[in-house]
């Protein structure tokens, strides 16, 4: 159904929209346009002049093996973060749903991590995982594992995955819990009477009925892992050791800001923009097609 508001003054709607449009223009379209322009330019070493070089920055990027390395790291990182945060959140939500249908105190408690700033999350996990200070690290060492994220790339990646996933769990949990509570109790009961035990009910009834929520969260989590984990990575590992934890977003920063390669960095931003547009499009198409049964 379409809802239409009517205004007596035909300029009023434009006036009301103006501030929002202005903000979007100044803080999104303008920088985006800048980035696109920049990605076609090459600056000299001193940043004094720049030349229009067509797609040279992109060509250089796609010829650079380190870019593919970063791409791979990003996939592993995002995949692990999404999988870990989704599965832990689902487990917690199922347990919470069974215990308390509708109690809110518990939910408030579990949303806390989400309110923690990325940098703080990083610091928190550093304290736990730091090879000399952290209690988890000491525990691992006493088990015979030489935990050293400062030198070992896999350890470093594990560390940022844990911290990033942890931050997203509460968000996922809330959506999963809401999704679970939207499943009519009688449907689950009907399955129980139909001879399905708890485990089978979960796989054949609960999980399929949650699939719209799961898909939505999957996209949200991938977007999060791609773009919102910069602070966490920056506090914990700065992309190291030896770029083992460098994601695409972090590379934009390290190449542009630290490496001074503005053109290459801008080209990377444009590629990221295309990825985000692609993910959003997938999301919308799916959401429009089927959310409810």
């Amino acid at each position: 159904m379409e809802k239409r508001a009517t205004f007596s003054n035909r300029y009023l709607p434009y006036a009301l929209l103006a501030p929002q449009i202005l903000v979007t223009l100044i803080f999104f379209y303008w920088p985006a346009a800048q980035a696109i322009r920049q990605s076609f330019m090459l600056e000299d070493a001193f940043g004094l002049s720049s030349d229009f070089v067509w797609f040279e920055n992109y060509v250089a990027l796609f010829k650079d093996p380190s870019y593919y390395q970063t791409l791979w790291t990003t996939f592993v990182f995002s995949g692990s973060v999404a999988f870990l945060s989704l599965s832990v959140a689902l487990l917690l939500a199922v347990m919470a749903d069974a215990e308390i249908r509708g109690a809110t105190a518990y939910r408030t408690f579990l949303i806390w991590p989400y309110a923690v700033a990325p940098a703080v999350a990083g610091v928190l996990w550093i304290f736990m995982l730091d090879p000399s200070l952290g209690m988890v690290a000491r525990g691992l060492k006493s088990l015979g594992l030489d935990w050293n994220p400062r030198l070992n790339g896999t350890h470093a990646l594990t560390q940022v995955v844990l911290a990033s996933a942890w931050k997203q769990i509460s968000y996922n949990f809330l959506f999963f819990l809401a999704g679970l509570q939207a499943i009519p109790r009688s449907v689950i009961e009907a399955a129980a009477i139909d001879g399905a035990r708890a485990w089978r009910r979960f796989w054949t009834i609960t999980l399929p009925l949650l699939s719209p929520t799961t898909f939505f969260l999957l996209v949200v989590n991938i977007v999060y892992a791609f773009f919102d984990t910069f602070g966490t990575i920056d506090t914990m590992t700065q992309g190291g050791p030896a770029k083992a934890t460098e994601t695409l977003v972090y590379k934009v920063y390290s190449d542009g800001r630290l490496g001074g390669d503005l053109g290459g960095s801008a080209a990377q931003s444009v590629i990221l923009m295309i990825i985000v547009i692609g993910l959003t499009a997938v999301q919308f198409r799916f959401v429009e097609r089927r959310v409810t049964y």
């Binding site: 009688s186 449907v187 009961e189 009907a190 399955a191 009477i193 139909d194 001879g195 399905a196 054949t204």
Partner: protein, 353 residues
Amino acid sequence: MASVTLSAVSKIYHGGVEAVRGVSFEVPDGSFCVLVGPSGCGKSTLLRMIAGLETITGGTVRIGERVVNDIEPADRDIAMVFQNYALYPHMSVYDNMAYGLRNRGTPKAEIEARVAEAARILAIEPFLDRRPRQLSGGQRQRVAMGRAIVRKPQVFLFDEPLSNLDAKLRVQMRVEIKRLQRSLGVTSVYVTHDQVEAMTLSDVLVVMNAGQVEQIGRPIDLYRKPATRFVAGFLGSPAMNFLPGTVVDARTVSIGGGTLRVAPGTGTAGPGTTVEVGIRPEDLRIAAPGEGLRVAVEFIEELGATQLVHGRLGDAPLTIQVATGEAPSGDAFEIAASPEALHLFDPATTARL
């Protein structure tokens, strides 16, 4: 098939609500038992305990010879039809019906045969590929029935399965459920708060009130000889009239200045005892002036074949059902009833005398 036996079954919910108190009765093998009572009297709770969806606080539930108190719903070999149908929204109609059979590892060929058979009986063959949301309420109801019958369970349980349908469809489905149960011969327990459904469907009728059983028996026996005032008022539409009366002698009660004869064998009390006299609206007739009890007319309802005359006898409200055209024209008239139509109740205990 199997009988269902309840012995002193009780249920106390978390928070202390005593929903069911010491209920005992037996549903014989193959018979249709209806639980009826006002909202909140514990009907659904009792049914859900038979299904295994609620824990049993006290007493035992037996299906056949087996005590099922601690047996999972999956292992009780029952099927249930829910008020909101509870179909699996992500499965086709076919898969909805096949689900229970697949869970039990039934061979594929047999699943197909059984689903086809059920679909034929219920006339839902054209919808087998549809999702539940693409069906009307009546069609969903049939799918829910189909899901129950393909399993060939020991017991069918129904929790107000018709209450979401419109009046006409409800009557039609009621007849179909009865026919289906007769032909399959599966022991059934059916919950409703609709007394017409209760009367028409049941072989065994259980009237419940406030977590307890008021009376159990054949529906016509409950209708003819209600054991309590509650049962008397609950069964029958329009509802029974209750008038304050005083016992004159073993064969006579006085009501509002006049007297009515009581049939021999009707329980009564010593002369001078106050009693409540129950008379059904259809058992009252219009008497010649000077021969009956005087009733002031308030208004008349037309039901088509019959008319309901609402009036007052003294202070007590009264309803009389007469054939259309027989309603009196004036603003007062007199009524009489045959001695067999009188039910006397003790005002203190509400039990039948």
